[in-house]
Symmetry: C3
Subunit: 140 residues, 3 copies
């Protein structure tokens, strides 16, 4: 018999960068005694986003950040929306270019991540924030 | 007992830009008497896309559009596919860089959007179009 | 009565480029005797990704590839992570800019794709690879 469950995680970021929260997600599924179904993650912000990326070499995260910093320059005079500072509008654009929601099939109670995949919250603002991610599970 | 429902919305765009259709989505969930589950949106086009973005300051939408217009230039001679005009191939690329599908957990009959989040159809063609978005709900 | 099913597809790529696997996905749904629900695709790699794009004019795929090759240059000295070659880090970035998961509503046993939409695996590495995509279905 299928069921639908959800919960909201709060994640404290240390400012711009990627935060791996794969373990919290796996622990939540275990607590739900999930078997087979679909896990969905949804971030309730438009200046932080979700990303599944390589979790082996920390250079990957540093390179991703350097790429986005060059692609979407803080303080670019193109942007009118700068009420919260030079990183305000670039954060919205970085979020638009990555993900607000992610879905991962669940088999035998675990998300079917590949060997080198981790689930990341990508904080785009330079200052630390508390971010909310809604977890949803539909399955047995 | 879980159930699966779906419906197709038609959205008339006014040409390039973001169209907020959060209210239509919320109204559909109310009509379904949805309680807890998962909402998925899917756009049936490759030159329009979906995006969850800030709905407070209209400058955010204007800045996003200016950013994409600079990143993916209309009429760029790089592109061979221009049968429908200089905005044809750039529209496909903008769609690839944003979302074709979005999923949002539903709790107490409402999508769990953050305070400042709206659900947008992003029309990338310069001319007005009628766009189809499939809504799917799985839950109680 | 809803149920949850899943399976893993193996896709052999021929190196960088888009691989249409819409037919395999449709065949799997038929084999499941799916009626109404939600299909989710998840790629278990961070240097290949998923994309729904135009399937009519092959120029669209060539133009998309040319755009990404220019946006994320192979061998860019910005990148520290190059253990597997000049296309290593660019592949992770291309994957971050496109999709790791995609969801498509299913009606009458078929994914509700638009007329010109195909489901693609986008291989970002220049060498051929075997890629794994997990298919998940929740529905009747």
């Amino acid at each position: 018999m299928l069921r639908a469950e959800s919960e909201t995680l709060e994640i404290r970021t240390r400012g711009r960068g990627m935060h791996d929260f794969t373990r919290e997600v796996e622990a939540w599924l275990r607590g739900q005694k999930a078997q087979s179904g679909l896990l969905t993650l949804f971030v309730q912000h438009t200046s932080a986003s979700l990303l599944i990326q390589e979790n082996a070499d920390p250079d990957v995260q540093a390179d991703l950040e350097r790429f986005f910093a060059r692609l979407v320059e803080d303080g670019d005079p193109l942007f009118a929306h700068d009420a919260e500072g030079p990183d305000d509008m670039p954060s919205h654009i970085r979020a638009a270019l990555t993900q607000t929601s992610l879905s991962v099939p669940v088999v035998d109670g675990r998300p079917t991540l590949g060997t080198w995949q981790g689930i990341y919250l990508y904080e785009h603002r330079t200052a630390p924030h508390v971010r909310r991610v809604v977890l949803s599970y539909v399955g047995t």
